[in-house]
């Protein structure tokens, strides 16, 4: 539409790392559907399953796997983007290889506290996805999903489930929490896939 009278906006951030409709923040806002979940590393477990083969990791077992470090930008559907965040964790490819689970098209990720999100398995295995256990050199704070969260940096952050508890692979697609509540099924920031009809 025509310009809004007298709206100038901030100085332009000419940065090809900022997807459309996003603005850069130096903070790390907290977005959670409900209270922060209080789960200690000693109670925490992660199960990876395809319905036939499954493997459950406790904190020590997860940390015994090969760790990877990643510096990446993250994008929240509520319009903020945070550049150059650094994460350490276990790449999903490493985890799936270790668990020996089969090749299925869809993943449903569940959290402590009953949160769920869905995504194609290929978005876990052919991008930079990991089970993250450290953020910017320190343990991940509970409000940001510690002790362990999924990180899928190329999709909006609601896919990066906090307090991750299970990854279930299937040949059928089930919708997760926000996906069932009117958000986009896939959530690509570069295509601005915020809501179901985008």
């Amino acid at each position: 539409m025509a310009a809004d009278r007298a709206f100038q906006g901030r100085p332009r951030q000419v940065d090809d790392r900022v997807p459309p409709g996003q603005y850069i923040t130096d903070d790390f806002p907290v977005l959670t559907a409900g209270p922060t979940v209080d789960i200690s590393a000693s109670e925490w477990e992660l199960t990876v399953t395809d319905g036939l083969t499954s493997k459950t990791y406790n904190w020590a077992a997860l940390n015994a796997l090969e760790m990877t470090e990643l510096t990446t930008d993250i994008h929240c559907v509520t319009h903020w983007t945070k550049l150059n965040t650094t994460w350490e964790g276990v790449a999903i490819t490493t985890l799936f290889d270790d668990a020996g689970i089969g090749d299925f098209d869809f993943a449903l990720v569940s959290s402590y506290g009953d949160y769920t999100t869905n995504l194609p398995t290929i978005d876990l295995t052919e991008h930079d996805a990991m089970i993250a256990v450290r953020f910017d050199g320190a343990e991940i704070e509970a409000e940001h999903g510690g002790p362990a969260r999924l990180l899928v940096p190329h999709l909006y952050m609601w896919k990066s489930a906090k307090w991750v508890r299970e990854i279930q692979l299937s040949d059928q697609e089930d919708q997760g929490f926000w996906e069932a509540a009117g958000y986009h099924n896939y959530g690509d920031p570069w295509s601005e896939q915020r809501y179901y009809s985008d």
Binding site: M1, A2, A3, D4, R5, A6, F7, Q8, G9, R10, R12, G21, Y23, P29, V30, L31, T32, A33, G34, P35, T36, V37, D38, I39, T78, H79, Y112, G113, D114, E143, F177, W178, A180, A181, G182, Y195, Y196, S197, D198
Partner: protein, 244 residues
């Protein structure tokens, strides 16, 4: 860890047929100066067919060089009222100063919505408890205007008496039973200091809620939600919206 025999508040089916969420031209119909730093904007939106209490709008502004900025604002109107948002000016903000200080009735503005199926109230959710910090009171007004069938209890934390939004409506008390806390001032009509675990316990014991809505700055929501969990409120019945 939690009481597992209460079903979680699953997202509700908001419409049997979902309309495409496309950008629309709204016209600013009227404004209400709520405080020195907050203004309510009432819109005329073509083909608006109501919303569910708690939903939000996305607002998009366009500069002369086609640069655009988009933000989300909770609707503060009840489901059957003309759509409105209530905006608090954020220091150094990009969009809120324009909405609070510059846009005038008759101006066009791009919006889309209503949006959201989580932080919403419908009769199936039962008796709500509403807890707001600062401008986090805005979506809660939408809920208490939704004819909940009871006088909704509202716990509201504001910095000073001058910063209270919807003060007359809260004081009138026809739709709400409000307890207002001031965190940076004292005033004979209001409680002094933050909302504490004991305040929450008294409210919960006198009128156990089916569902609790908490909206405000992150630190406020984190604190209140953790008190509620410690008071054995099922976390799945605590719906939160954080900002800042």
């Amino acid at each position: 860890m939690t009481n597992l025999d209460t079903p979680p508040p699953r997202p509700v089916a908001t419409r049997t047929v979902r309309r495409a969420l496309s950008w629309r031209h709204a016209t600013l119909a009227d404004t209400i100066a709520e405080t020195d730093t907050a203004r309510t904007l009432i819109f005329d939106i073509p083909d608006w067919d109501g919303h569910i209490a708690g939903q939000h709008l996305d607002v998009r502004l366009t500069a002369p060089d086609d640069y655009q900025a988009t933000r989300s604002y909770s609707l503060s109107s009840g489901p059957s009222e003309q759509p409105q948002i209530t905006v608090e000016r954020v220091t150094d903000g990009e969009v809120s100063p324009y909405l609070v200080d510059m846009i005038e009735p008759g101006d066009a503005i791009e919006i889309r919505g209503p949006i959201g199926g989580y932080f919403v109230w419908e009769p199936i959710r039962g008796n709500p408890l509403l807890i707001g910090g600062g401008s986090g009171i805005a979506p809660l007004r939408s809920i208490w205007r939704a004819e909940t069938g009871t006088r909704a209890i509202v716990l509201y934390s504001a910095q000073t008496a001058e910063r209270i939004l919807f003060g007359d409506e809260l004081a009138a008390g026809t739709e709400v039973d409000a307890r207002i806390h001031l965190t940076r001032a004292t005033h004979p009509d209001y409680e002094s200091g933050r909302i504490g675990a004991d305040d929450l316990q008294r409210v919960i014991e006198s009128a156990p809620p089916d569902v609790t809505y908490v909206c405000g700055p992150t630190a406020f929501v984190e604190g209140i939600a953790s008190y509620l969990v410690n008071l054995n409120i099922d976390p799945r019945t605590i719906l939160t919206e954080r900002f800042g």
